[in-house]
């Protein structure tokens, strides 16, 4: 059964609490009558008076659906007695809107096909796809703490648009956060963490949030956003040292989190981690660690199309965090196969 709506005038007085529910009943092909509007906080079964053709009472049951992160209420007739049921063209479609939206803007919902995500203006407030993205972050534990590296590129689709994006930031006294994915979401996360660290410092009591605590906090944030279908489009790497304990963990945009001795995001998982699995060990010195990081980043530079040749390395130890100035890796392109590329096909590039 489908329903096409015509909207209530004087919608404002009908708005209650957070939801406005109206039940629309199809009279014929072109017309529809709003039969009733009520707050979903009322009991799950409600009587609706059919005010069009003749007075009839219909019993509706209240079905709550979730789709595209929005809550819908579907009213279905329960009583199948022919006496009670009006003509079969009765519609059961309901639209739910936030208080801020007046009824007249409420989109029509097709009872059979279900709501169309893009038809809701509220949708523009949730993340659908990333725009400016950063590529991989690679990190591992070494003798004195954690080493992390990321390039400084922010891609706009396939354009390598921004080339000085700092994707690793220190958090509090004990942690470093590196992020790949949407840069604006990373900045939002930094704002959350800034507030968190501020409140932690305000206690001024000798206790402080270590990397494990920050990692778990981030997991909760990411998971909650994912549950609302409005994720922060990032893969985060959180590393730090507190009281001699080294900690390195990762959180993805859907809230998957784990700890490990070496982690990477994005392409780094495929290109860098195999190298780390072979060559990482517990007691890397700082110099060896940087060499290993450079090896991973060089592979990524050659093979990841969204990598830029400007990388930043950061380390964190018991003493604190250090972000080193950015620099470039030397690359070699002088392979025989690359020389005279068009020799076999003139005119191509």
């Amino acid at each position: 059964m489908t329903c096409i709506g015509s909207y209530l005038e004087n919608s404002e007085e009908m708005l209650s609490d957070r939801f406005e529910v109206c039940i629309l009943m199809k009279i014929n092909e072109n017309e529809c009558q709003v039969v009733s509007s009520l707050s979903p906080k009322s009991s799950s079964q409600c009587f609706v008076e059919a005010s069009l053709v003749e007075k009839r009472w219909m019993l509706f049951s209240f079905l709550e659906l979730y789709r595209f992160g929005k809550r819908y209420l579907l009213f279905k007739t329960v009583d199948t007695s022919p006496l009670l049921l009006p003509p079969p063209s009765v519609a059961v479609a309901v639209a739910v809107a936030d208080r801020s939206m007046s009824l007249s803007k409420m989109p029509v919902v097709d009872g059979e096909r279900g709501p169309d995500a893009s038809s809701f203006s509220l949708d523009s407030e949730r993340t659908l796809y990333p725009y400016v993205t950063g590529t991989s972050v690679v990190a591992f534990k070494y003798r004195d703490g954690i080493l992390m590296a990321a390039d400084m590129g922010g891609s706009y689709g396939s354009t390598l648009r921004y080339k000085t994006v700092e994707r690793i930031k220190p958090i509090g006294k004990h942690s470093l956060l590196g992020a790949s994915g949407e840069i604006s979401d990373f900045q939002e996360i930094l704002r959350y963490l800034d507030e968190l660290i501020l409140y932690d410092n305000m206690w001024d009591d000798g206790n402080s949030l270590g990397p494990k605590e920050v990692h778990n906090y981030l997991t909760r944030v990411m998971y909650n956003r994912r549950n609302k279908f409005n994720p922060l489009w990032n893969s985060l790497v959180l590393g730090g040292v507190k009281n001699g304990q080294k900690y390195l963990g990762m959180v993805s945009m859907i809230g998957v989190n784990f700890e490990d001795n070496h982690v990477a995001t994005g392409f780094g998982n495929h290109l860098a981690r195999p190298i780390l699995r072979d060559e990482w060990n517990e007691n890397l010195s700082f110099e060896d660690g940087v060499k290993l990081l450079e090896k991973c980043m060089r592979v990524l530079l050659y093979r990841d199309r969204s990598a830029v040749n400007k990388l930043q390395i950061a380390k964190i130890t018991e003493e604190g965090a250090t972000l080193f100035p950015p620099y470039s890796l030397k690359t070699f392109w002088g392979f025989e196969a690359y020389k005279n590329p068009t020799v076999g096909a003139e005119g191509s590039w």
Binding site: W203, D205, K212, H215, Y217, N243
Partner: protein, 273 residues
């Protein structure tokens, strides 16, 4: 203290700058049965007197585990104490869920104190009538705090609250300098002796007291009766090193000579007058 025209409401100040209702609430703490706490660098011990109303009933629970690393002993309106323990447990769990690490006891105590302060500034509420001895761990080691109905909190090396707690406090005052470096077992013994002080001559057995311990590497747990009885027997047989008798000031009728009670008659110190 006496009734006066400023003590009807918690939101009425007296002319001397006192909130009488809050002070009356602190009186309620003094009426409850005794609870004491003491701590070393790494451990905190809580002990309390648990007397049942009559032989048929069970005793009031006065020591609550709030989390693996925090416990609380209460004195006063035990119902208020129970409700506050529930709040504390809830705060600890909430913190552990978000941060996967234990809530530092210093922060919990501040949250408790803020909660108590609210009740001293709303005309439709009353102050909590319970004093809480909060024992817990945080990054810097073991701590003991006292939260009172006024919304104040203090950190202590050792403290006693409830009825006849002055006797225990006096004993603790004499011994507290040694606590910081004591072993856990010695702390428990000191706690038991302090409890005995508040009993005013009654015999100390493990059926009328409860002892709990929390420490670095040791979860908060209540010692079982047998262990406690064994410890009691140990110091009863050996005899105390120093006379535990109270000074003349507080009870007024115990002589220092009474402290050297013989092991067989421990606690039955002659009470003059």
């Amino acid at each position: 203290m006496f009734r006066n025209q400023y003590d009807t409401d918690v939101t009425t100040w007296g002319p001397a700058g006192r909130l009488f209702q809050v002070e009356y609430a602190m009186e309620a703490v003094k009426q409850g049965s005794a609870a004491i706490g003491l701590r070393s660098k790494t451990h905190v011990v809580l002990a309390c007197v648990n007397k049942a109303n009559n032989e048929l009933s069970s005793h009031q629970k006065k020591i609550f585990k709030v989390d693996d690393h925090i416990g609380v002993a209460i004195a006063g309106l035990t119902a208020d104490g129970r409700v506050l323990s529930r709040y504390m447990r809830s705060e600890c769990i909430s913190h552990a869920f978000t941060y996967e690490s234990p809530l530092p006891v210093g922060r919990l105590v501040v949250q408790l104190a803020d909660k108590a302060q609210v009740c001293t500034q709303r005309s439709w509420k009353r102050p909590y009538g319970v004093g809480l001895l909060v024992a817990g761990l945080d990054e810097s080691g073991a701590h003991l705090y006292y939260n009172c109905p006024s919304g104040n909190y203090f950190e202590y090396q050792a403290f006693a609250i409830g009825s006849r707690s002055q006797a225990a406090k006096t004993y603790l005052e004499r011994r507290f300098e040694n606590f910081m470096d004591s072993k856990c077992e010695d702390l428990v013994k000191d706690a038991l002796i302090a409890i005995r002080e508040t009993l005013q001559g009654e015999r100390l057995t493990s059926t009328i007291c409860t002892v709990a311990v929390v420490g670095v590497g040791e979860s908060f747990h209540i010692l079982d009766q047998n262990t406690v009885q064994q410890l009691i027997d140990e110091f009863e047989i050996v005899g105390e090193e120093e006379p535990p008798a109270a000074e003349a000031g507080d009870t007024g009728d115990q002589e220092t000579a009474a402290g050297e009670a013989t092991p067989a008659e421990e606690g039955a110190a002659p009470m003059d007058i």
